[in-house]
Each structure stands twice: as structure tokens, then as C-alpha cells.
Symmetry: C2
Subunit: 310 residues, 2 copies
Amino acid sequence: MYRIGIDIGGMSIKAGIVKDGEIISTKTKVTRIDGVLDTLIDDLSDLINGILNENGIEIDKVEKIGVGFPGVVTNKGYVTCVNLKLINQPVLDKLNDKFKNIKVSIANDANVAALAEYRHGSMKGFESGVMITLGTGVGGGVVINDRLISGANGIGAELGHLIIGENYYDCNCGNNGCFETFCSATAIINYAKKLIEENKDCKLYQVCEGNLDNLTAKMVFDLYKEKDEISVEVINRFKKYLAIGIANIVNFIDPDVVSIGGGVSNASNIILDNLSDEVKKHLPFKESNICDIVIAKFKNDAGILGASEL
Amino acid sequence: MYRIGIDIGGMSIKAGIVKDGEIISTKTKVTRIDGVLDTLIDDLSDLINGILNENGIEIDKVEKIGVGFPGVVTNKGYVTCVNLKLINQPVLDKLNDKFKNIKVSIANDANVAALAEYRHGSMKGFESGVMITLGTGVGGGVVINDRLISGANGIGAELGHLIIGENYYDCNCGNNGCFETFCSATAIINYAKKLIEENKDCKLYQVCEGNLDNLTAKMVFDLYKEKDEISVEVINRFKKYLAIGIANIVNFIDPDVVSIGGGVSNASNIILDNLSDEVKKHLPFKESNICDIVIAKFKNDAGILGASEL
């Protein structure tokens, strides 16, 4: 039997056929965003039928379909994704109508990625693990005893919106001090822009050719390695708050492992350098052992693989 | 068969005999603090033998002994309690030596209280619950599916040390912005003192008879009801950060229920007033349902009852 895992993003929808924990084929479609649920359901259906056809697999050989969404998925299967213009839509019911004899499951995409890392990747073999995805925003997933902790109302593991300090600008969610305003790629870019605007006679401004719209987090990490003053200040601030964010996770559930994924995690050497010690400084009992802190194994495949495991 | 639950505090050690979830007898002893583990073990042993004698119960009718400590209890049974001058002491091993045929369990006292509330009190019937104890400090306990989440290293549920903002003074733990520096009784007293010192021509200064050492959190709550300006400012700040702290809990594991205990929770009407709405404001998805927020059922008995359930 086969499983299908689907990863819905703001730009594309990726589907994969999974057998025994391995992705054997993938297919991608541009995400159509018109705020109509049936459009999305039709696209998912086309994608699933398409990939099965391409691989000569009959639909009755599929035991499970799992889908990860970039938003809130309630325990009753209602989805709210601002990026997809879907507000509280009965996605699970619609998918169940479409695929009557197959078990369909849906979940938040960061939760899905956490499950992939827990079952097959960087958190494999640990009893409890928390994944933090540092990308455009910050997402998270919590797995304890092989069970995703998505919460009583499906709004758990929104780690990007843990309030961990005070920041000079507000989060998109309307609050101040959210983890993702300190530790996402966007946060790195924002803070670098702020410093560059205070002093344009700097390497970062040269690297982005005098256009701050070109600035990327990778540029800042690259110049950090060259000890560029602004880049060092930006990355040190990022690392300070990353340590506080992880310390909050440890203070809360003290997991066996914390895994860091997302685009920012490509700078793994810089991120992991001294990170455990910085986390310990932010705990009340500094002499205790703490969790392993590791970099996620899967890059683009976590969404498909994790969804197939739901 | 009987169980014995013991609640160790900085001032006294309370033991209780528990049968079918009811405390049938209690006995108390002053806590001797000399930093010697054997002193504590002897005192616990005397207390247990004493209460059994008083009730005419033979030791072989005791199936379980549980002890709650005001500090860190590792999964291997090592205890660190700064207040008791015990650093990383093998408490469980010592107790097992002393009570060879009885199952002995030990845990952090706030975790123990959470278990009591989960099994018999304000969190009974819920699948997942988080207890916050607002006292001299802030403690916490997390229970999911009838299981205490004390963590991989026994340092979990230190909710008082979640960093949730920036504060004008540092926490005892050496960090800035800890939940307990905003929401403990001590925090309320500290902030009121600060405001009184800026303006001594106020009711609070009168109520504590011109001696700030007399100031209590209860005085501030009492004058809040009379709309005293300083008291309103202090309690509003307390409530703002309580909402942020609970929002962080919801953003993390989205439990079915949050229960508030500890001395400060006596001001339950003031605390609960508008609290859920304030918590929602600090979530990314403000239209979602969230957990029930309730006041703990047990006052002094939670420690004994919860310990007997370990």
C-alpha cells in the first residue's frame, strides 16, 4: 500500500507518493489563491490523480492521504490560512467527501515537519522533541511519545508567537515581542536594514548593491563570518533571542531534543556555536543537563513525508 | 491500603495519610535546614512513623509514599532545593533504602499540585491541563493524558521562569523578564513599592502604616477594588503579563484548561475578570476558542494529595 503526503505552500502545492517512509515520486502545482475552498479541493484532487496516473498506481492502493497547511487546523478539520485566503473552512469534510475510502488527515505544516523529523529525521529515537522552523516566519511542532501536540483547539505549537521580550516593531499578529520578530529570516533582514539605514557606509549595503530590497538573511550570515560589524550585531541579537526562545521551550516541557529547521538553519555552524551554553544561562538551574539541540535533517521533503505519517 | 503524601516547604513538612483520594489525617514538622540529606531523610521517616502510629496503621498497610519538593527533581531522583540547601542529592535512593517494601516517588511541588488538581480538583475531566501557582514565586505543572510532563531532565514546567517581556529588575535566577517577576505576590509588592516610593501621598502607604515592609499583595488587591490609582496601575500590569504568560502556554501546547492557584489566586474575581479576552488578544488567531481558565480547588492540601498520587 502507498501513502500520499501533500505540502501546501503559498506558492506551490507539492504532493508525494510515500512507501515505507520513502518518497518514491513527487509532483508540484502552482497554488491558486482565490479564497474558494472548492478550487483548492479540485487542485488537490487533480494533483493526487495526476501523480497516481504518472506512477501507474490505482487509487485503491492508497491507504492514507495527509495534507499540511500553512495555518491553523482545528481538531475538527477546519482550516484558517490567511495566505490562502481561507477562513475557518471545513477542509477535512470536503476531502473526506472526495476520497471516500481513504483515511484523510490534515494538520499545520510546521507540525507535519516536526512529525517527519521525529519519525525519520533529526529527532528520531527521542521520546519528546520540539521542532522550530526558522523561515520567513517561525513555526513549531511538539511531539511527545510519538504524538503530535497540536492542542485542544488545534492552535498549539505556534512557537513563533511566543512572547519572549520587547521588540522595536510589532509582529504581524498585532502583538509585540513574538519569537518570530527576533528569529525569523524576516527579523534578521529587518534589523539589518534598520542598522544599515543608520549607517550606509557598510559592507552589507555594498553587497545588496545599494538596494535594501535585495538584502537576504544569507548575506548577513555570510558577512558575519567576515566579522562585519553590523552583521555581527544582527546575528548576535538573533542568537540571543534564539537562546531565550529555546530556554522557554526547555523551561516549559524540557524535551529530549530541539531541532532547528527552515531556511535560516542552513547557517547551522553559526547557529549551533555556543547555543547550548547560552540556553542554559537563561534557565533557573544552570547546572542541569538539557536537551540536545540539532539541525533538522529534511529540507524540502519534510512536508510530504510528515503529512504521509499523519 | 493507604498512601502517604508529603509536602516539603521551607518552613514546615506536612504529611498526610490518604485513602481513596481523601486525606484522612495530617501531621506537620518544622523543616530543619542544615544542608545534610540524612537530616531530611530522618525527619521524613519520623514524620511517617509518627502519623502511622497516631492512626494505628501498620507500615505494611502503606502501598505508596510520595514526596513533593520545592525545587528540581531529576528523573533519576536527585533533588536540588536552594531553600533546603540541598544540591543534587540522591533523595530517591535514600528513601528507597529507608522504605524497602513501599513504592516511593518524588517530584517538584508545583508538579505535584498540578496532579492533585488534574485528578481531583479544578482540572478534573480535562485531557490536558496546565497549572500556574502564583505565590511568593510562580510555579507550574503540566499534565497531558494523565501524565505529568516533568521533562527529560526533570526541569520542565518551570513556568515562573518563562521569559515573557522586559522588566525593570532582574529575577533571582539571574535573568530578566521571567514570568514570576511580573505575576508573583512578590512582583506585585515590588511594583507597588516602586510606585509608592515615587509618590508617598497615597492610600497604600497609609494602609501599610508608613512601613513598606508591611505591604502585602492582598492590600493592593483590596485597594484595587476601591479604585486606588496606584493599586489599579499595579494590578493592571500584573493582569497584562498574566494574560501574556497564559497566551504563551496556549501558543505552546493549547491545553484544555489552565488552572490558577497559589495565594494570589484568592483574588479570583479580579484575576478572572476579562482574562480570557486578554489572553486571546495575545494569540495570533484571535477568533479561536481557547482553554477554560479556572481557579484551583485545593489550597493547602494540594501538596499532600498530589504527592500521594505520584
